[in-house]
């Protein structure tokens, strides 16, 4: 199926699953018995919010078909922003019920005198608020990612459980048989995704271990892990894709990180795959450097749609910043191995010269294809003859080929680079469909 059709299908399915309970509720309850329109509106928004929350996990549970249509970074952004939207709908649900006059603020609480559905609803709303607050303040709180991920997952299951119990006990629309059946189906879907994500997928990975062949120090406080599959053929991949690395004793270990492959694609069965990782914290700064040849690693992949294999063009412009250069190097290496003669322009931004991770590999690849490279340093050393500053419009105009509108553009780097490229590239008359971006700090 074409990528755009797949995208439309999955997006349509999502909208359908969120709104379908409203249709069933409206059809299964007689058009009488409404206490007030505010209560009906509150109910409607509550159903939508619950369906959205139940589907939140599906968005990030690595359903290959859906992730392939949009890209995991886009799905994660959608997950984050829609999660906040669901929380706002929960707040609107509560505010409408309170303003309807039927549920005075004084009647709320968790004491035994408060009706059970109200207690469950209050708890669900409080848990949702905590879930969202912890998610939006994670970076500011400098919370350990792995701890936060565990709390986030447990809170998400709690929210869905409490909200489902709230709906089941509140009666009215939820009391009808069609709604009860639908509720059971949605709960089954939620539990099924949870089971697949946390049990079946790790079980499958358990039979496919990888071993560390080499752990190499690179420029820019980075390391390249060379991994080889043990007792299975491993995988080939499209250059630019990534995989989830798990260095726990088993694949059930919660700590896992998405990392781009930095070696070439088209891997033969049993072939080695490399990942280049910058020291950005606990895991990349402590766990990764401690790996020795022979260490066991679990690799879940490949994932991602950020690849020239999916986008034909007369040439490629690769725009990278920091460790975002890793998937771009994979692209260059693959094009060189395929003896591709199309022109490639790489603009690579970094703070200092010593931060140019994988520079040696880029230089080694230069003679093997039509590759033009410009290193752009924020703080150039004395005597630096290359570009300095940032990758901006003027710099792009200096380096882009004359027929640049027909090229395919791949951008990977920190948020400021991504945001500026999303603004500048369209202003250079480059069609949106030829601009492909992936945020390496997606989680």
């Amino acid at each position: 199926m074409k990528l755009i059709l797949r995208g439309i299908f999955w997006f349509g399915l999502y909208v359908f699953l969120v709104t379908f309970p409203l249709v069933v509720a409206a059809l299964s309850v007689p058009r009488s018995g409404s206490p007030s329109m505010l209560v009906d509106l509150a109910d409607g928004l509550g159903y939508v919010a619950l369906a959205m929350m139940a589907l939140e996990m599906a968005l990030v549970s690595r359903v290959d078909e859906a992730a392939g249509a949009f890209g995991l970074d886009a799905l994660l952004q959608f997950h984050r922003e829609v999660g906040i939207g669901a929380w706002l709908l929960v707040l609107a649900h509560a505010a409408l019920l309170l303003s309807s006059g039927g549920y005075p603020l004084a009647s709320l609480g968790l004491s035994a005198s408060v009706p059970l559905p109200v207690r469950l609803g209050t708890l669900a709303a409080a848990a949702t608020t905590l879930l969202v607050l912890l998610a939006v303040t994670r970076r500011r709180m400098h919370a350990r990612y792995e701890t936060w991920q565990l709390v986030h997952g447990l809170l998400a299951v709690t929210v869905v459980g409490l909200a489902a119990a709230h709906v089941a006990t509140v009666g009215r629309f939820a009391a009808s048989t069609p709604m009860r059946v639908l509720g059971a189906l949605y709960l089954g879907l939620f539990l099924g995704i949870l089971l697949r994500y946390r049990l079946l997928r790790p079980l499958a990975l358990l039979r496919k271990p990888w071993t560390v062949v080499a752990n190499l120090a690179e420029l820019g406080a980075s390391r390249t892990l060379v991994l080889r599959p043990v007792g299975h053929p491993g995988f080939s991949f499209q250059p630019g894709q990534f995989a989830w690395l798990n260095m726990g004793r088993t694949p059930f270990h919660l700590e896992q990180h998405p990392v781009s492959m930095s070696s070439g694609g088209d891997v033969p069965p049993g072939g080695e795959v490399s990942f280049t990782i910058r020291d950005l914290g606990d895991w990349s700064g402590k766990v990764v450097p401690a790996l020795r040849p022979g260490s066991r690693v679990w690799v879940d992949g490949p994932y991602g749609v950020f690849s020239p294999d999916r986008e034909e063009g007369p040439g490629y412009v690769l725009l990278g910043g920091g460790i975002g250069v890793a998937p771009l190097v994979s692209m260059i290496e693959t094009l060189a191995a395929r003896e591709d003669r199309r022109p490639v322009v790489l603009l690579y931004g970094a703070h200092r010269e010593e931060d140019l991770t994988l520079r040696e590999r880029i230089e080694a690849l230069r003679p093997r294809l039509d590759l033009r490279v410009a290193y752009v340093l924020e703080h150039p050393p004395p005597g630096w003859e290359g570009e300095s500053g940032y990758i901006d419009e003027a710099l792009l105009r200096r380096h882009l080929p004359h027929d640049h509108r027909r090229f395919q553009y791949f951008v990977c780097g920190p948020a400021p680079l991504m945001n500026s490229m999303e603004r500048i590239l369209p202003s250079l008359d480059i069609p949106a469909e030829r601009i492909h971006a992936e945020r390496f700090d997606m989680v």
């Binding site: 509720a25 409404s34 159903y47 886009a74 829609v82 709908l89 945001n419």
Partner: protein
């Protein structure tokens, strides 16, 4: 897919979902006009709350 495109899609989706809640409220609207008493399903007054929707009668 670009960051701004996703953000725009999210806003549109949220607007759609909020609107669907409103359409739902209109679709299930009680036809009994104000002043004609409580709807027949708004019951269980003796318990102090409506047994159907848990609102105080």
């Amino acid at each position: 897919m670009g960051h701004r495109i996703v953000a725009t899609i999210v806003r549109l989706v949220l607007l759609l979902f909020a609107a669907s809640g409103l359409v739902f409220a209109l679709a299930v609207r009680d036809p009994v006009p104000p002043g004609r008493g409580l709807p027949s399903t708004h019951r269980n007054f003796a318990e102090g709350t409506c047994g159907t929707c848990h609102a105080p009668p």
